[in-house]
């Protein structure tokens, strides 16, 4: 033991000097609470180290903008992440944060939310972190309905480990680990989230900042677990994966933007729509097929059955033909369900109500005691 302590002391000077010179953490504004928070107030002094051109920049910017719009207090927000490119996110938010271990952010966040229900807890994860190594935790977070917001950056590739296929990669994808093409069937994140009874399920994309910010605001407003899949371009290892949905020339025909109470319409002139033929969604052309807007499917965020159908709009945009179902963006499903932490604390309150606040002396003595005199 003496050996190590000596070793530590030998290096102590180094530590003390470093601590003096490296006080780079940004200080807090002395008057916070009365100041108006701007997006910049949510940025840290840390140099952002994502690759130039990465879709993550846009997401970071919109989260900061949304938080400024909401005038959130930096002290009340906690970002929890796992491992991967997206999981560096907490380092760039001037809030509380924890960069935890691979796949486990939902579990860490769950414990924190039980301990401190009043905090705003956000989980940032990716398609590998959240759906592969951490898929189990995401299942249970969603079904328990913790009051936690999950931002899942889906770039359909492993970026930080330099380009292996991920659970959301398309079939036959050739990567370093699949030189002859992937034989894995891709996972559909929204179908997954609905399948495990997520109470808020939505999709957006990095290249549509307005929509992205709107969805972040919707997540914030939701009481239970809000699950937001964000299509995010990895310009190094999977550039253009979502091109069909993000680029001007194809977006109108490949993507459909959902709005509660509105008919499902898409196309460059909104000339196309989705009609329900019994339980089968059918693409119709309002200009050619003799249908009017009144015949179309009206989006209802509260309808779980229709949400399941929408999640199944998963056609490959590269094979866009007559029957192609456009990829939905927006809130597929939003339902009110009490949060886990709320129910947990209600049970504690009920137990105290029933039995009275626990007395340590009674606990120590137990049910039966005897005296030695």
């Amino acid at each position: 033991m003496a050996r190590t302590v000596l070793g530590f002391e030998a290096h102590e000077t180094y530590g003390a000097n470093k601590a003096k010179t490296l006080r780079t953490n940004k200080g807090m504004s002395a008057t916070e609470g009365t100041t108006i928070m701007s997006a910049k107030d949510f940025a840290t002094s840390q140099e952002v180290r994502w690759c130039p051109g990465c879709g993550d920049y846009s997401i970071l910017k919109q989260v900061q903008a949304a938080f400024a719009e909401l005038q959130l207090s930096r002290d009340e927000v906690v970002f929890i992440s796992g491992i991967g490119c997206s999981s560096r996110f907490p380092y760039y938010m001037e809030t509380y944060g924890m960069h935890s271990i691979h796949g486990r952010a939902p579990a860490v966040a769950s414990g924190l939310k039980i301990a401190r229900p009043e905090l705003q807890v956000w989980v940032v994860t990716g398609d590998g972190d959240g759906l592969s190594i951490g898929g189990n935790h995401l299942i249970h977070l969603l079904r328990r309905n913790f009051g936690i917001k999950v931002l899942l950056f889906n770039n359909q590739i492993y970026g930080l480990t330099k380009g292996q296929y991920s659970p959301t990669s398309e079939e036959a994808k050739a990567t370093k680990s699949t030189p002859m093409g992937s034989i894995d069937h891709p996972l559909n994140p929204l179908a997954f989230a609905l399948g495990v009874d997520g109470s808020f399920v939505a999709r957006t994309m990095d290249r549509d900042p307005r929509h992205l910010k709107e969805m972040i605001l919707r997540c914030h407003a939701h009481e239970g677990t809000a699950f937001l899949e964000i299509y995010q371009n990895c310009n190094i290892f999977n550039d253009g994966a979502f091109q069909a949905f993000t680029e001007k020339e194809s977006k109108a025909d490949a993507a459909i933007f959902l709005e509660h109470g509105q008919p499902l319409r898409f196309g460059s002139n909104s000339e196309k729509g989705i009609r329900l033929d019994c339980f089968r969604p059918v693409v119709v052309n309002l200009e050619k097929d003799g249908f009017s807007a009144g015949d179309l499917w009206i989006h209802d965020e509260k309808d779980i059955c229709k949400a399941h159908l929408l999640a199944r709009f998963f056609d490959d945009p590269a094979r866009r033909e007559h029957h192609y179902l456009p990829r939905p963006f927006g809130v597929l499903y939003a339902a009110e369900r009490p949060s886990y932490e709320k129910m947990l604390h209600e049970q504690i309150a009920a137990a105290i109500e029933l039995k009275g606040e626990g007395q340590l002396d009674e606990l120590l003595a137990g049910a039966a005691t005897w005296e030695i005199r």
């Binding site: 302590v5 200080g27 002395a30 840390q46 960069h99 271990i101 189990n136 005897w370 005296e371």
Partner: protein, 622 residues
């Protein structure tokens, strides 16, 4: 009819039957009753991993051994003086553990053809009719038949009536040991209060067993074991997992923090989760997670949020938690990880005891990852060990591993419990909110090399932590080579420094210098102490020290070891503490290892000790 009462000093009794016969319950109830009579005691429940192993088979035998006496009782006893065997398999499995001349109480209804066949007796062989039981006092009782007769008026089905046969046996034993029925009547009322038919049947069977002893002329003797000369004070009976639960709650209250317990069901640790879940009115937050990893990660989240966070498991779960333990030590957050050890590796022997996770606790993580480890030494000691684990975690901002094992987790003993006011408070300091622009340094260290605990929601302290290497002071991500080395040494020094805040190692018995020191840790306490006590009485110059602190070791341990010619280390593993002592102190040791899923018996260790110590005793003066 009054019958003679014979006074006995100590008795070891074993209840054995099918795993569905309720032997664990019968044993526990008899134990509670014994405790209330003031005897000292130790128990050893031994049951199969299967909930209902095939009925009537040897694999399905469930046993509960109780050793009680009017003198100090340190072990559950090597051999039984009384065996209760509910069927042929129970007799066969336990016959070899009986002392000559001991008593066997048999349920003769459990020895029909089918039972004999399932117990693998030869065709036509019946131990009740052979010479196998010669030399034992055999009490034959048709328990099934008598219970059914006693319950003739009951509306219960025959199957339900048969479930009461353990109460009949218990009632008989209460008669035999001159006991009152009150503690068991209270238990039954609590358990079956809402099901009057079952309540009545159990009480009737219990009383019928008692009266059976009283009325049958064949039984001429009753026995009594007087109260033991225990230290003055208030006592209760307690099992290890129960004590651990209470220790955690007490620590949380003394630290003024809510208790969070994240866990995944696993034998033999699940009772901690069950126990804590029943104490919600103490503000306890229990979380049954989706797996072992989620259980510890949720605890880390709760610790970050300022709770006293605990996770509990057994060996396989520890293996799964290792990465998260590394995270907790990197984050330098308080966390208690309870490992109720069982036989390993892999799934191993889930319901059997072992001390084989010591090296896993100390080394089972990637990188340089020192985590303090402490061990409980007896059922009641689980309370103090849990309390101390929480104190170290909270005051030194570190994960702490608390080692218990299946033997003490399910074993019981009388406990002179403390008053709440007697327990020391655990001072916890959170970093306070602030308004100035001075940067907050989450990895600045105090004189104990401990960093501040800054809770989310505290004004002015927003900061980021994570599993990547931290820069000293700022806690920013750092790949700087010198910084990494500095931080590795700092984390080690922080754990080593704990030695200044724990007591020095004391002897449990024996002289300060001598021929041999028996050095133990964990659940072997009672065994080693009682063996050393006997050896001292025989004139050997031996002593016993039992380690609570396994990392860091008490600061005087090295000098203590030098006072003895031989160091004997008995362990229920293949020699793990031996390795640590050899490598830390360059001192050779003599291992005594038993790896059979059961505790070491007194006879085994004493025999080994005599062999090692030879004739080292000074001649006894004439």
């Amino acid at each position: 009819m009054s019958k003679a009462v014979e006074i006995q000093q100590e008795v070891t009794i074993k209840f054995a039957g099918d795993s569905g016969d309720g032997m664990q319950l019968t044993g526990s109830l008899f134990t509670d009753n014994t405790a209330l009579s003031g005897s000292d005691l130790a128990t050893f429940p031994d049951f199969p991993a299967e909930i209902r192993a095939p009925q009537g088979t040897l694999a399905g035998v469930s046993g509960f051994q109780l050793h009680f006496g009017s003198r100090e009782i340190l072990t559950p006893g090597d051999e039984c003086d009384v065996l209760v065997a509910m069927n042929a398999a129970a007799l066969k499995a336990n016959l070899q553990h009986l002392a000559p001349g001991s008593t066997i109480i048999l349920n003769v209804d459990g020895f029909d053809k089918k039972n004999l066949r399932l117990a693998k007796y030869e065709e036509g062989e019946n131990p009740l009719e052979s010479s196998l039981l010669d030399g034992f006092e055999v009490i034959r009782m048709p328990v099934t038949k008598l219970t059914r007769e006693a319950l003739a008026q009951s509306e219960l089905s025959t199957r339900d009536k048969d479930l009461c046969k353990n109460m009949f046996v218990l009632g008989f034993l209460y008669w035999r040991y001159n006991r009152k029925l009150d503690s068991t009547l209270d238990f039954l009322k609590q358990k079956f209060g809402r099901r009057p038919a079952l309540l009545e049947a159990n009480i009737t069977a219990l009383r019928a067993g008692y009266h059976y002893g009283d009325t049958i002329e064949a039984f001429t003797s009753r026995y009594e074991v007087k109260a033991a000369p225990l230290e003055k004070g208030a006592y209760r009976n307690i099992m290890g997992n129960e004590a651990l639960v209470i220790g955690l709650i007490a620590a949380a209250q003394k630290a003024g923090l809510p208790l969070f317990y994240g866990s995944y069901p696993i034998t033999p640790a699940s009772d901690i989760l069950h126990g804590l879940a029943a104490y919600k009115h103490f503000g306890v937050r229990t979380f049954q997670a989706e797996d072992e990893i989620a259980a510890i990660c949720a605890a880390i989240g709760a610790s970050y949020g300022g709770n006293l966070a605990v996770t509990g498991t057994s060996g396989p779960g520890m293996a799964l938690k290792t990465e998260a333990m590394g995270l907790a030590l990197m984050l330098e957050l308080p966390l208690v990880i309870c490992n109720v050890q069982r036989g390993g590796p892999s799934t191993g022997l889930p319901t059997k005891t072992e001390q084989s996770d010591l090296l896993q606790a100390l080394y089972g993580r990637n990188g340089e990852s020192p985590v303090p480890a402490i061990a409980a030494s007896s059922p009641a000691d689980c309370f103090w060990a849990a309390f101390e684990a929480c104190r170290i975690a909270l005051q030194h901002m570190t994960p702490v591993i608390l080692l218990s094992d299946g033997y003490i987790a399910n074993g019981a003993e009388p406990w002179k419990f403390p008053r709440a006011a007697e327990l020391p408070s655990i001072e916890v300091r959170f970093r306070k909110a602030r308004d100035n622009d001075e940067p907050f340094l989450p990895y600045e260290r105090d004189e104990r090399f401990v960093r501040p605990w800054a809770l989310p929601g505290t004004k002015g302290l927003a900061h980021r932590i994570g599993g990547l290497e931290k820069e000293a002071g700022t806690g920013n991500v750092s790949y700087d080579p010198a910084n990494h080395e500095f931080m590795v040494k700092a984390r080690q020094a922080k754990v080593d420094k704990i030695a200044d805040y724990i007591p020095e190692q004391e002897l449990s018995i024996g002289p300060e210098k001598g021929e041999a020191l028996f050095l133990g840790w964990g659940s072997t306490f009672g065994l080693v102490k009682s063996v050393v006590k006997d050896l001292l009485a025989e004139g050997y110059a031996v002593a016993h020290a039992h380690l609570r602190y396994l990392r860091p070791f008490p600061r005087n341990l090295g000098s203590l070891l030098q006072q003895y010619d031989k160091i004997i280390i008995p362990e229920i593993n293949n020699g793990q503490l031996c390795q640590l002592i050899r490598s830390d102190f360059l001192r050779d040791v003599i291992p005594y290892n038993k790896i059979q899923g059961t505790p070491i018996t007194k006879a085994e260790l004493k025999g080994f000790a005599r062999q090692v110590l030879g004739d080292s005793r000074p001649p006894v003066p004439q």
